[in-house]
């Protein structure tokens, strides 16, 4: 029984981990006890170090690499022949060559524009769907069930979602989308979704491309649940008298919603949009699962970063893509943080 053998292995390795964590905590306690034997001012400093030291050590693993990555973005690997005739790769400083490669090579420009469209289309559509569902499901019979069904995809991995939708898009007879397409009047050609850059007789040159749009549907499918749940929670916090007052002034349901409720939950909508943009900019797993790692015009910045840095072993270019991702993400994190603070201060 192979399964039980590996299960034994698992149980033992989990025991090792549990033991490891217990030892780690005990070691911190012992260090703390040792620190308490020191003289002031060292005693208090050592105690603090025991508490924050491990975390700060791990954070060095974030700060130093992030700085090094800027540096790597200016280098490229070059094969050189040494005096003794051996050949080896060395890192060569190339200024902004990696960046000019990104901004001038049409294939890379397509990656940039793809990512931009990802941010615009997925964020606006999934937020819109979230608002619509949250509004109409509010106080509806069966509201929790409807919302749970829409929220369910949020729990599963992007890889799992990719498999689910690959099945929907399959060109075989069992592909749901193709089967629906065949129902249209007339003789319909089978479409090779995600497997051909030419769909419906259109060469997939225009941005963002049908294959990219098909993958976007999957992320909208996932993100809409998130926006629904967050916006729905905010809607329940809108005071009833506010809406009542608007209605007494003669506003219809729709007017009250558009002019009173939506402005009231503006902060929540900004939160939803910024978090969605952040998730979308880093889209990677789904491109690996559905776009064969960026084939047929489906690549994005985070996917290209991985493809260049690891399978292609072109670290300089990969590092440059990572820097661009950072430049795209940082301002949005900032807007998000400021918005969160404004919401907290507003109560």
């Amino acid at each position: 029984m192979e399964d039980w053998g590996s299960m034994g292995k698992i149980v033992s390795s989990l025991l090792v981990v549990a033991l490891g964590i217990a030892v780690f905590v005990a070691a911190l306690a012992a260090l703390y006890w040792l620190a308490s034997r020191l003289k002031e001012p060292w005693r208090e400093r050592a105690r603090v170090a025991v508490f924050v030291g491990p975390a700060l050590l791990l954070l060095l693993g974030l700060i130093i690499p992030a700085i090094l990555n800027f540096r790597y973005g200016f280098y490229t690997k070059e094969l050189v022949t040494l005096e003794d005739g051996t050949r080896r790769t060395v890192d060569k400083f190339v200024w902004f060559e990696n960046y000019s490669e990104i901004f001038t090579n049409p294939a890379n420009v397509k990656v940039l524009t793809n990512t931009l469209w990802w941010g615009i289309i997925v964020t606006s559509v999934s937020t819109f769907i979230g608002i619509v569902i949250a509004r109409f499901a509010d106080r509806m019979r069966g509201e929790p069930i409807a919302k749970a069904l829409i929220f369910l995809p949020t729990a599963i991995s992007l890889v799992g979602a990719g498999v689910i939708w690959n099945f929907v898009y399959s060109p075989r007879d069992y592909g749901l989308l193709n089967s629906l397409y065949q129902l249209l009047p007339g003789e319909q050609q089978t479409q090779f979704f995600l497997q051909d850059s030419k769909l419906f007789g259109i060469q997939n040159e225009w941005v963002p491309g049908l294959n990219t749009l098909l993958i976007m549907v999957v992320i909208i499918w996932i993100q809409a649940g998130f926006s629904t749940v967050v916006i729905s929670a905010a809607l329940k916090g809108v005071p009833d008298d506010l809406v009542e007052a608007a209605k007494i002034d003669g506003a219809t349901d729709r007017q009250a919603f558009m002019r009173v409720v939506l402005p009231y939950i503006k902060g929540t909508i900004i939160t939803v949009m910024t978090t969605t943009v952040l998730a979308v900019l880093k889209i990677f797993d789904i491109i690996q699962t559905m776009g064969k790692g960026g084939a047929f015009g489906t690549s994005t910045i985070a996917n290209e970063m991985y493809e260049q840095a690891f399978p292609q072993n072109n670290e300089g270019l990969g590092a440059a893509w990572a820097v661009l991702l950072f430049l795209a993400v940082a301002p949005i994190v900032y807007v998000n943080a400021r918005n969160q603070r404004a919401m907290r201060e507003a109560g």
Partner: protein, 310 residues
């Protein structure tokens, strides 16, 4: 009995006259119904892809490959568990798929526990210990959330492979450490928010009684923080369980890889073997679905708090 009269019962007060024109009222009622129908349509539409895959995973291979899953309705008793036993023994890179399931367990549990333990200590220090530069260091920690983990992949991988880092810690342990590093800023931020808001009087009373920071942390703060630790733990666990990128970069060979890796490999090499892919996907999703269905409240809280994760 309260002194106020209920106007609907007593009939003393005239109910406020409804000025809304009848036409608008009908339109509103209709839009309400249209809205509800739309919600249910969307809910159904959202469920169809998953249900299709679920039904297929129980159908015999021949049926999966020759007709649409919706044809199941014509012969609903024609179901089997063969796909599930088949996928568990199916070899990916020479290893049975079941091995990858256990790898996911082996990666995700420590991958969630380690960073939370370390972050809890730090969050206590940032909340209740006095030291120079405390607030600035905390702002620096939180500021690290702007760094996408992609920035660290190449340099960290070089570091792990440099020989400076002990070989004994390669493989799964590198994945744990990477997840701990990437999860640290958010975990500290969230736990500091929670631990910092525990009542000051409790802490001060314990200090006056001569309790050390370590005792207060272990005996008072940790037990009080269970809800926060649970939400964060569930979020981090699912994040690691569902992760592909970090494992792919740091895990080395297939031996140390989680199920997400094995699935992507199967999609690439056996893309039309749907008897394997359907069952494999559900083996992979069963843990998140159980967590989702049983701990939905914690799940939502963790998701809301963690949605800004880099």
């Amino acid at each position: 009995m309260t002194a106020t009269l209920d106007p609907t019962l007593g009939g003393i007060e005239e109910p406020p006259k409804d000025e809304t024109p009848v036409g608008t009222k009908i339109a509103e009622a209709a839009s309400g119904r249209v809205g509800r129908i739309m919600v249910w349509l969307l809910a159904a539409l959202w469920t169809v892809p998953t249900v299709g895959l679920l039904i297929s995973s129980f159908r015999p291979e021949r049926e999966i490959k020759t007709e649409g899953w919706w044809m199941w309705i014509t012969d609903p008793l024609n179901i089997t568990l063969d796909n599930y036993s088949g996928v568990l023994d199916n070899r990916v890179n020479g290893l049975p798929f079941s091995e990858f399931f256990w790898n996911s367990v082996r990666i995700a549990i420590p991958g969630a526990v380690i960073p939370i333990v370390i972050a809890a200590f730090a969050a206590y220090a940032f909340s209740w210990m006095q030291f120079k530069g405390r607030d600035w260091i905390f702002i620096g920690v939180v500021g690290m959330m702007v760094v996408p983990l992609q920035m660290c992949l190449i340099p960290l991988l070089r570091f792990f492979g440099s020989g400076f880092f002990p070989d004994a810690l390669s493989g799964v342990a590198t994945i744990w450490i990477a997840h701990a590093i990437f999860g640290m800023p958010l975990a500290i931020f969230l736990l500091k928010n929670f631990i910092g808001s525990l009542p000051r009087e409790v802490m001060e009373a314990a200090r006056v009684d001569g309790a050390s920071h370590m005792t207060i942390f272990m005996r008072i703060v940790l037990p009080l923080s269970v809800p926060a630790l649970a939400s964060l733990g569930i979020f981090q666990f699912l994040w690691v369980w569902n992760d592909l990128l970090v494992a792919k970069v740091f895990g080395g060979g297939a031996r140390n890889q989680p199920m997400t890796f094995a699935m992507v490999d199967m999609v690439g090499n056996k893309g039309n073997e749907w008897q394997l892919l359907t069952a494999g996907a559900f083996v992979m999703m069963i843990v998140p679905l159980i967590v989702f269905l049983s701990l939905q409240r914690y799940f939502v809280r963790g998701l809301l708090a963690g949605s800004v994760k880099g």
